[in-house]
């Protein structure tokens, strides 16, 4: 009784042996892999300049990125360089500014702001020190303005550093200046003792 039924199953299985051949029909399409849409920075055969990321039409600005009266976006109050931050000065802001400064500014200006960054050394480039009287006595908005618009041979960093971060960098530049120009009277007795030992 068992013998014929086992043979019957065996022959059924054998008759299905062609099924693995179906595998030859699959895995030939990459439609899901390369979907008909653009990724960032992709090239395009459609546009003549080959850019899939379209440059904005001339004289357009992004929403919220333009306001001539905003100190946050211009660094100026009533046409004069701002002497205060448009946000609260906090330890987090300074710490954030420190990471931005070290990433974007330090290659030329140096980690200390003395103008002896690795690129300045290798260039070699003459990079002004941030520890000069002119820059110590300038309004904080000046640093924002330079980062935004560039100055002399320095390009604008507006495309890479958002306005809030630019203010953080400006505040950190002040901290750098203070670190190299601290009044002894502001220091604790312990610190003065440490200085006196030198």
């Amino acid at each position: 009784m068992a013998q014929p039924s086992r043979m019957w199953i065996g022959s059924r299985v054998a008759r299905m042996a062609w099924l693995p051949l179906c595998l030859l029909l699959v895995a030939c399409h990459v439609d899901m892999y390369d979907q008909p849409r653009y990724k960032p920075n992709q090239t395009s055969a459609f546009f003549s300049d080959q850019r899939a990321m379209r440059p904005p039409v001339e004289n357009t600005v992004a929403m919220g990125s333009f306001d001539p009266d905003s100190p946050l976006l211009t660094g100026k109050v009533n046409g004069e360089l701002a002497t205060e931050l448009p946000m609260e000065l906090t330890a987090e802001l300074l710490e954030h500014g420190r990471t931005r400064y070290n990433a974007y500014c330090a290659p030329c200006h140096g980690l200390t702001g003395d103008g002896n960054g690795v690129i300045a050394y290798r260039g070699p480039l003459q990079v002004p020190s941030l520890h000069q009287d002119r820059l110590r006595t300038v309004a904080i908005g000046y640093f924002f303005d330079v980062i935004t618009n560039g100055i002399n041979r320095m390009y604008s960093y507006a495309a890479r550093i958002p306005p809030e971060d630019r203010w953080a960098v400006a505040a950190y530049v002040r901290a750098l200046q203070l670190s190299q120009y601290a009044d002894v009277n502001d220091l604790t007795a312990e610190e003065r003792q440490q200085l006196g030992a030198q």
């Binding site: 960032p40 920075n41 690129i119």
Partner: protein
């Protein structure tokens, strides 16, 4: 007496052809798997020719330039961002201004036509990936991109198989590092003790309840 049906070597032929068939099928499968895993298919470690032979080793390792100087949107957007020609020129308007290697950069700056870099990591269209969340949760550049600061020409460091993605999504504590060290290429997360990494996973609120392995996390 009936005639001889099979030749004398019939047994040998049966064995040789049976073993040969098994070996052939096994060999074909092994070769296909091998090809699938090999750099021939995955491009791992195979640098691509670029319009400008940009060296990460020179710029990152020797000149100490931060990743974010060029890949500026890596902390804010899904895409790390290829540097614009303007970014290249913010230095190369001053240094190496006559180098013939940089002619495509200067041409691009003058004409406004983009430099057509060739993509190294090409994710499938059905995979969603966001750089900013990985950076914010303490996953370092080198965890996926390898020691790109030691490569002259950029090449893939990972084949980007799904199992590899899931390995980290299942055990984020194997790859998490302090946020300060994300852009430090030389940092090894495993140099921290396990308890410290588990603490970081908790502090950065990386979900460990299995949510990270849901299909829709990446396929959305």
């Amino acid at each position: 007496m009936s005639a001889q049906i099979f030749p004398r070597n019939a047994n040998a032929i049966v064995w040789v052809s049976t073993i040969g068939l098994v070996a052939l099928i096994g060999g074909i499968v092994a070769a296909m798997v091998g090809l699938y895993l090999s750099p021939w298919y995955t491009d791992v470690g195979v640098p691509k020719a670029q319009p400008v032979p940009f060296s990460h080793k020179h710029h990152v390792d020797q000149l100490k330039i931060d990743c974010r100087y060029c890949h500026a949107t890596v902390e804010r957007a899904a895409h790390a961002g290829y540097p614009s020609t303007d970014t290249c020129m913010s230095c190369h308007s001053q240094v190496w201004t006559n180098s013939p290697l940089l002619q495509p950069v200067r041409d691009s700056y003058r004409t406004g036509d983009p430099i057509l870099w060739r993509r190294i990591y090409d994710l499938p269209g059905f995979v969603y990936f966001n750089h900013s969340v990985h950076v914010a949760k303490g996953i370092g550049c080198s965890s996926c991109h390898g020691r790109i600061d030691q490569q002259h020409l950029a090449a893939k460091a990972q084949p980007l198989f799904m199992g590899w993605c899931l390995g980290c999504h299942r055990n984020p504590e194997d790859n998490v590092r302090p946020r300060d060290e994300v852009f430090n290429m030389a940092f090894d997360p495993l140099s921290l003790p396990l308890e410290e990494r588990v603490r970081l996973v908790e502090a950065y609120q990386i979900p460990t309840d299995g949510r990270l392995t849901n299909c829709y996390v990446c396929h959305r």
